[in-house]
């Protein structure tokens, strides 16, 4: 099978039949190249999708206060519902089974100034676990911690864009920023995959915000994250119980739709996952389709090649070639060509994908890639089918009587 003579014979045949070699090699290389690029683009689409929708943690419930629309237990309608610090501890105690973390969020606009630079930013007064639900990534320093909340410290964590605007090239760590009328110490800088908008935020302890606002204990939003193991059904049950509990505590008519709003990200998550699954399905479908097209292309070329060589095979047989040696010769040659060109196409496709990176971001294709195992597997698949596609006509040609093959013009 691997004698030097056979290789020499094959190299000579390949060298002297350039067009034929080029045609079959090109078909294989193009087939695998297109497969890899399309598959990679599919993955790029999935990346964009993930970036758009999966930036925040998905196991969260968001509680907002609203206005009641029905009178209840002696309270009039149109009452504004606000949360308080006690709600945090109550939820923590009553729903320990579901709960992963809980954090308040109070959003206020503020003018921030450092030396001569100033601008308007949103500030969020939060607890330590807010970092988890927003998937905030620390670049420098630390996030708001429990001690900050307990002592209502004047520490802040600023976004990457805030640091860039206010501090230019200076290191913001440990510097003081004026927010309204008080000075806050920067203890950390963060980035967020959600983009620039999310990086124009300033985080502070929620207790500090409450002290600034006449020492109240009001909270505008509560964000609760649940343990992912409880699943979608568990999340819905949690939401239902939480709504009931809060309505009861705030004395809202159980049939009143407007007192409290709860946004359940789990619901959204399920939709997103379904969308992602459909995307995956399309990617797979396109991939399989391209592969099949490639296989058909190779089969055609192989049938053509063997047909073209019928007479040559007849001559070889008249000179003493056995059917086996004829089949082996054709297979050896075709596998050699498909392997070389298959891997050329594969590497070409991978290089193209690597070089694209973020360039096709506008077309929702972000960092397209293909797993090397998928690439190698599909290349082997193409080579295998190329060999099978070559074997069938080769076997037929080898079994034709030489006298018939010689008559072929």
């Amino acid at each position: 099978m691997f004698s030097k003579d056979r290789w020499q014979e094959i190299f000579e045949t390949i060298k002297k039949n350039r067009l034929r070699t080029f045609l079959s090699g090109f078909t294989v290389a193009l087939g695998i190249f297109i497969f890899i690029v399309l598959f990679g683009f599919g993955n790029g689409l999935k990346n964009s999708f993930g970036k758009f929708f999966l930036d925040d943690a998905t196991n969260t419930l968001w509680l907002f206060g609203g206005k009641t629309s029905k009178p209840y237990k002696g309270f009039k309608a149109d009452r504004r519902i606000e949360f308080e610090n006690s709600d945090l501890t109550d939820i923590g105690q009553n729903f320990a089974f579901y709960l992963e973390s809980i954090t308040p969020r109070i959003t206020r606009g503020a003018r921030a100034r450092y030396k001569n630079n100033s601008d308007n930013y949103s500030t969020r007064a939060v607890g330590p676990s807010h970092q988890i639900v927003e998937k905030t990534i620390m670049m420098k320093g630390r996030y708001i911690n429990q001690a900050d909340v307990k002592d209502a410290t004047k520490n802040i964590v600023i976004g990457r864009m805030v640091a860039k605007d206010l501090f230019k090239d200076e290191d913001p760590m440990g510097k003081y920023v004026e927010l309204g009328s008080s000075a806050f110490k920067v203890v950390g800088v963060f980035q967020d995959e959600g983009g620039d908008r999310e990086e124009r935020l300033i985080y502070m302890p929620y207790t500090t915000r409450q002290v600034l606002e006449k020492n109240n204990d009001k909270i505008s939003q509560i964000i609760v994250s649940f343990r992912p193991e409880i699943g979608h059904a568990g999340a819905l049950a949690f939401e239902k119980q939480l709504r009931l509990f809060m309505k009861n505590k705030k004395a809202i008519d159980p049939t009143d739709e407007n007192g409290i709003y709860i946004r359940n990200v789990a619901d959204q998550l399920k939709k997103n996952q379904q969308f992602a699954a459909v995307l995956q399905l399309i990617v797979t479908f396109v991939g399989i389709g391209t592969l099949i097209a490639g296989i058909i292309g190779i089969s055609n070329i192989m049938v053509f090649v063997v047909k073209e060589r019928t007479k040559e095979l007849g001559i070889r047989k008249a000179l003493g070639a056995t059917p086996k040696s004829v089949i082996n010769m054709i297979l050896h040659e075709s596998i050699f060509i498909t392997t070389i060109s298959g891997f050329v196409g594969m590497i070409g496709g991978i290089i193209l994908l690597k070089s694209i990176g973020e360039e096709l971001k506008d077309f929702f294709i972000l960092n397209p890639y293909i797993e090397s195992s998928t690439a190698v597997f599909s290349t082997f698949l193409l080579i295998l089918f190329g060999a099978i596609a070559g074997y069938i006509p080769a076997k037929r040609a080898a079994s034709i009587k030489p006298i018939v093959a010689l008559r072929d013009e």
Binding site: D5, A318, L319, G320
Partner: protein, 230 residues
């Protein structure tokens, strides 16, 4: 060298069958130069194909160099062809992408010789047919007579027992026909057994014995006085 007894061959044509050879008996000694004559449809090419193991007879015995040729599958036929027989065809049947030298060396490849001795032997035979200087040329760069001489060199290279030539001059003009026949006579004079199928009496007369076929039987089998090509 060749012994044939009661050879029958028919081809199926739809429902009817066409009897092509109807009991051929022939014996050919070593060193003979035999012409097989006959008009088209007489069965001469079929006979040659069976002798060349390119086709199989329905009935009858075929002995080649005292080996009974029977139960031929393609693999065994290929082996015998390589060992016993050299072919020369009317349309030369050279492989068009191989040089003259590589064409001559091809049967030696299937004999399992190594590359060096293949090329050495092939060059010797090209020299024998007077084409040593053309060894690196492709068939498309050769004239018809040169192509047939390359084909003869290729047929001889495997040192066969018998050379089978099917209308070897059929595609050549009279001058080159004479050249090729002169080469065949020369090879025969060196002791090689040669069968030539032809329908031209001039060519047949250049052989030592003429077997005439008509309608699948031997009409005449006679030794003749050989016309030598000057």
């Amino acid at each position: 060298m060749i012994e044939i007894k009661n050879l029958y061959k028919s081809y199926k044509m739809g429902n009817s069958s066409l009897q092509v050879l109807k009991g051929i008996n022939i014996e050919i000694e070593e060193g003979e130069l035999v012409a097989i004559m006959g008009s088209s449809g007489s069965g001469k090419s079929t006979l040659l194909n069976i002798l060349g193991m390119l086709d199989v007879a329905d009935e009858g015995d075929y002995k080649l160099d005292n080996v009974l040729i029977e139960k031929l599958d393609e693999t065994l036929a290929a082996k015998y062809r390589n060992k016993f027989l050299g072919f020369v065809f009317q349309s030369f049947n050279l492989i068009n992408y191989k040089s003259a030298l590589e064409n001559v060396a091809l049967p030696l490849y299937y004999q399992g010789l190594n590359r060096k001795s293949r090329q050495k032997t092939a060059l010797e035979y090209l020299e024998k047919v007077g084409l040593a200087n053309w060894s690196s040329h492709l068939p498309s760069e050769l004239s018809g007579g040169q192509k047939q001489r390359v084909a003869i060199a290729r047929a001889l290279a495997s040192q066969p027992k018998v050379l089978l030539a099917d209308e070897p001059t059929g595609a050549l003009d009279s001058v080159t026909s004479n050249e090729v026949m002169g080469l065949i006579q020369q090879i025969n004079n060196e002791g090689k057994t040669i069968l030539v199928v032809t329908h031209e009496i001039d060519i047949a007369n250049m052989c030592k014995r003429i077997v005439t076929l008509r309608d699948g039987v031997i009409l005449e089998d006679k030794k003749v006085k050989q016309v030598l090509v000057s």
